[in-house]
Amino acid sequence: MTAAKAENPKPIITLDNVTRSFGSVQALRGVTAEIREGEFFSLLGPSGCGKTTLLRMIAGFDEPTSGAITLDGKPMAGIAANHRPTNMVFQSYAIFPHLSVADNVGYGLKKKRLPKAEYDREVEEALKMVSLGGYGPRAAHTLSGGQRQRVALARALIMRPKVILLDEPLSALDKKLREQMQIELRRLQRSVGITFILVTHDQEEALIMSDRIAVMFDGQIAQLDSPEALYRKPNTQRVASFIGVMNFLEARPIGEKGDKISLDIQALGLLDIPASALPEGMAASEISRVGVRPEMMSIVLEGAKSTGHDIEAEIAEAEYYGDMTYYLVKLSGKDEPVTISMRNTAGRAVLEAGSKTRVSFSPESIVVFQ
């Protein structure tokens, strides 16, 4: 996010206690959030968490049971999708099969009755934006999955909406193409400056692309934060295990000394951690568990000096990923092994299962939970 936006984060969409019930099923249980103008916002959660329902309500395909959605200062209740300044990229892309690529992209422009030359220029510009320049005359059904996705995007961009809504747009693409599109989408969003709202169940995708992410569980926002804050300071165990891998250890608060909290942690022993690790509104006495990310621990190499915080351990399993090795490591005092990731830098051998070693960690990287 650029500095200007951070200083003056004007909300483009305000969600005020939005709920949605389908019969006896509560799909959304009161969602309150502000989405800022020009940001790349993601709704991340497992299937059935209500993220798509929320997106469809912003688009105007569905109405909240209670609560209000405000878009660019105007309440959206009763306003149909065709009168909202939003455009959607559908999961299935919804490319009109009976139209050419150009007619698909220009579909929404037709209503404006532009002169032919101007219309053609706009369509070609939109196609160029998604690297499909010259594809206009092609029939829509001849396109590949990735190309359809681009056409769907161009069709939304050409409308110059206030907000573009993306409903799992990359889920149908293969891994390579998906990774390429993630970066491309992000770059495109920055260059056009339109607010993007992405719905995804892929935490990695959300982390790569978003300015801010709302993690949703059971029809509610569990945490709304920047990708880094979500990863480093998840406020619940559920968020922590949904985003990346987290090793959980039992912990007991012993006391507070100034800006330090003393904890008795399973397998790690007595430790002082910075008081800043404590989430807002939580007291040190409420701590019952801590979490450590796999890359925040490391296996101490043979002959290296102890950093002060290291413990005896035994490798239970090693999973080799090429650039990384994921070790399942048994710490003394904990039955379940913890996951530790190590970069396979030059000269570092992969340790075999059964080898005894030592694990070091830094108290600053410890996250606390209720």
């Binding site: 149909a80 065709n82 099969p97 929404g108």
Partner: protein
């Protein structure tokens, strides 16, 4: 050896179907075509090939009039049937959420009685002392029974449109069911109201169904002869009634055959034209 065996086996497997196709489809058609080049000589058939029957079929004003009337009536029937079938199909596809199968089942319910019976029922409804006239008289809307509703073209159109309705509803329904609903949402999302969306997305994508319905209704109704005979009066008679007369009372099967083959080609040509036109419409409508 093996290949030969396999070939023989294939031939054996396909032969029942093949025999069926030859005996029931190709043979009667070939016979009719052959007849059309012969001449009736009282009780005998003169099998010297001649084009005289075709000359008569295409030059006699009566036949031309009957053929044109048949086309006019069946085009009218088709238009009425398809236009009235579309809303029904649309309703079942888009508005009915549960028990679609039951709806389709009920649409086909009239087919449990014979075609002839249904035509007679229309006679009862549309007749001088029929249900329709009685009701209008009773309510005082008219003082004398209406006479223009039976024994003319209107009656033929009403009867045929009713009889063929399910054949038009089903293909249109299938085409509408196949439309990806997210396409409709996309059209709305891009600014279309319900009417624009219908003409730009729903209708062009339903064209294959509409075309199938059109052909399914048009082709057999050109050749229908029961309905015009029973409810059409004299001005409602069609080409098939003449073909029937030629094969029967007039004892001129070759002329009847020539009329039949001619009308077959005309209907074939018309169907081809409709097919080509609908493809164009489908392509242009969405723009």
């Amino acid at each position: 050896m093996d290949v030969q065996n396999e070939g023989r086996k294939g031939l054996l497997l396909v032969s029942p179907t093949f025999l069926y196709a030859i005996l029931l489809l190709a043979a009667p058609l070939i016979l009719v075509v052959m007849f059309s080049f012969w001449t009736q000589d009282y009780l005998d058939l003169d099998t010297t090939p001649t084009l005289a029957n075709y000359k008569e079929a295409w030059s006699e004003p009566l036949y031309r009039e009957l053929m044109l009337r048949s086309l006019r009536i069946s085009v009218l029937v088709t238009t009425v049937t398809v236009l009235s079938a579309f809303p029904v199909a649309y309703y079942v596809s888009f508005r009915v959420k549960e028990r679609k199968a039951l709806w389709l089942f009920l649409i086909t319910a009239p087919f449990w009685t014979s075609y002839l019976l249904r035509v007679f029922l229309w006679k009862v409804i549309l007749g001088y002392n029929g249900v329709f006239n009685s009701a209008l008289l009773w309510t005082g809307i008219i003082e004398e029974p209406l006479q223009f509703i039976l024994y003319n073209v209107n009656a033929v159109v009403i009867t045929l449109a009713h009889a063929w309705a399910p054949f038009a509803i089903l293909p249109i329904f299938v085409a509408l069911e196949k439309i990806d609903r997210s396409l409709l949402e996309a059209a709305e999302d891009l600014g279309d109201g319900p009417v624009r969306r219908f003409f730009r997305v729903t209708l062009p994508l339903a064209i294959p169904g509409v075309m199938a319905a059109t052909l399914i209704v048009l082709i057999p109704t050109v050749g229908d002869f029961i309905t015009p005979r029973l409810v059409g009066g004299t001005e409602g008679l069609m080409i098939s009634n003449m073909i029937q007369v030629q094969f029967g009372k007039a004892n001129n099967a070759p002329l009847g055959a020539a009329l039949a083959v001619s009308s077959m080609f005309i209907v074939g040509g018309l169907s081809l034209l409709i097919f080509l036109a609908s493809r164009r419409v489908g392509r242009v409508a969405g723009e």
